[in-house]
């Protein structure tokens, strides 16, 4: 059985970020296992620009961002297994993987999970109608167009105004296709505002708020879709149906962390994020198994993935070196319009001087204040503007604030102006 200090599952931005950091912390035997034939993960198909402003202070494309991390990983002499898939991991950190050379059994002192996420499909939102060819998740279409060099259709409707949906709408227009409309399923767009501007507005692609597809028609290939307006409960308003003739439907209806391996290992999963519960060190419910990036919660900015991954890598290194935290875990409990907070648990002694809390809100708020309380005492408050469900909040908090904290850390949102 092959032995490693740290094994990282996934060679996308999260996995590479964690691996490089672990190596920098002096860990010698680090292995990244990647299922694709190259490193970089989904970044390799995100050929648009807009990555890296926080980390590199310049605007990179997905492949450029990936290339920088791949080059760093090479410099650090990190072991990499490509075209290799992990079949199972166990509580005691034994990994079963396989590739074309055979079945591999690997033992690790620490594991970092960085498997990323997958797209929700037509079935997860149960669109009725026929089941012809021509219905793609936006990411699958992105792979066909940007990696394989094939077009998926000529006349396209995009359902869901997620980032990939809007980016693919622009991409299809650039490649000579036509995008009839991007449909937002509610009054709030899930993607970044700048993508509405640079992907849709700049290319005259209509964005229809409060619309949904009620039927897909076409025996073999998509022939048309029926689109209807929806009310504030997202229910279809009868009589508003309109038929769009098209040959393709792209779905950008959400992402779900891929935690099949985490479940096999028995890691506790948060139903809200669909990712593992993690503490301030990005450690899951199993000591020595860490997680970072989209496998924990779906990010919209890769730089935040990188920051989170460096934290996971550094803490995996600490774990391997035998550093332990003695303080008790405090749960971060959210309310008042905040849907989740990562980390879910904080141990005071293991906190860095400044800890980033990642949160999302369930509605749009022009002005709101994040208030952090503990046992009836307000620890700190942060004024925020333009909060929207599509944009993750990153809030840095000082360790010193939590010196006397015990029990639950309550995080809530006060909506409106300051008190």
């Amino acid at each position: 059985m092959e032995k490693y200090d740290i094994v990282i599952i996934g060679g996308g931005p999260a996995g590479l970020g964690a691996a490089i950091e672990a190596k920098k912390q002096g860990i010698t035997k680090v292995l990244v296992i990647e299922r694709d034939i190259e490193l970089g993960g989904i970044l390799q198909q995100c050929i648009h620009n807009g990555f890296g402003l926080h980390i590199f202070n310049e605007e990179l494309t997905g492949p450029e961002y990936a290339q920088r991390f791949i080059d760093m990983a090479r410099e650090e002499n990190i072991d990499i297994l490509l075209d290799t898939i992990v079949i199972s991991i166990s509580k005691d950190k034994k990994i079963k993987a396989m590739n074309t050379t055979g079945v591999l059994n690997i033992e690790a002192k620490a594991i970092v999970l960085a498997m990323g996420c997958r797209e929700k499909t037509r079935s997860s939102i149960a669109i009725p109608g026929d089941r012809p060819a021509g219905v793609f998740t936006a990411g699958a279409a992105q792979r066909y167009i940007n990696i394989e060099g094939y077009m998926v259709g000529k006349k396209v409707i995009v359902l869901g105004a997620g980032d990939i949906g809007m980016i693919m709408a622009r991409r299809i227009v650039l490649e000579g296709g036509e995008v009839l409309a991007v449909l937002a399923r509610g009054s709030i767009v899930k993607g970044l505002t700048r993508n509405i501007v640079q992907c849709l507005d700049h290319y005259n692609i209509p964005l229809l708020y409060n619309h949904n597809i009620t039927k897909i028609t076409g025996k073999e290939r998509v022939e048309s879709v029926t689109v209807a307006q929806t009310d504030e409960k997202k229910e279809v308003i009868p009589g508003t149906e309109k038929v769009y003739e098209c040959d393709t439907v792209l779905l950008s209806v959400g992402l779900i962390p891929e935690n099949e391996l985490s479940r096999i290992a028995g890691i506790e999963i948060d139903r809200k994020t669909s990712g593992p519960f993690v503490n301030e060190s990005m450690e899951t419910s199993i000591p020595g198994i860490f997680a970072c990036g989209n496998v924990v919660h779906v990010h919209d900015v890769v730089d935040f993935v990188t920051e989170e991954s460096r934290r996971a890598g550094a803490n995996a290194a600490r774990f391997v070196k035998g550093e332990k935290s003695e303080s008790e875990s405090m749960n971060t409990i959210v309310s008042g319009g905040i849907t989740y907070c990562v980390p879910h648990r904080i141990r005071y002694s293991a906190m860095p001087d400044k800890l980033d809390l990642f949160m999302r809100v369930e509605n749009k708020y022009d002005k709101a204040t994040i208030v952090i309380n503990n046992q009836g005492n307000e620890l700190v408050r942060f004024k925020k503007t333009n909060l929207t469900p599509g944009e993750m909040i990153k809030q840095s908090v000082k360790k010193s604030l939590f010196e006397k904290a015990k029990g639950d850390i309550e995080i809530t949102l006060e909506v409106g102006g300051s008190k």
Binding site: I37, E38, Q44, I47, H48, N49, G50, L53, E59, T61, G62, P63, E64, A66, Q67, I145, N146, I147, E148, G149, V173, L174, E175, G176, L192, T193, R194, I196, V197, Q198, H202, D300, V301, N386, E391
Partner: protein, 116 residues
Amino acid sequence: MDKNLVCIVCPIGCRLKVTGTADDLNVSGNICKKGIAYAHDEITNPMRMVCTTVKIKGGIHSVIPVKTDKPIPEKYKLEVVKAVNSIELTSPVKMGDIIISNLFETGVNIVAERDM
């Protein structure tokens, strides 16, 4: 002038408020100074980054991503893709290699986004 813009320079997407005249713009709502430059360009001469792919022989994939190395005037955004579609590269290509230089006499180059 009294215009609302969304800055597209980074994912934060600052909501900019632009007042004044083209020569003397007053920009607010920006977190960093890139927002001011963006607003200025957007009002006077909108510029766009364009990213697409080019055929490649002998690589691990059949196309390689390329981009404009800086924003190009808005009117060329679809022309860029047409211009590169006829090109076929041969592996190896390094990230940053210039595929087309000074496209449409704009001073903008088309460069490879990755090694392949």
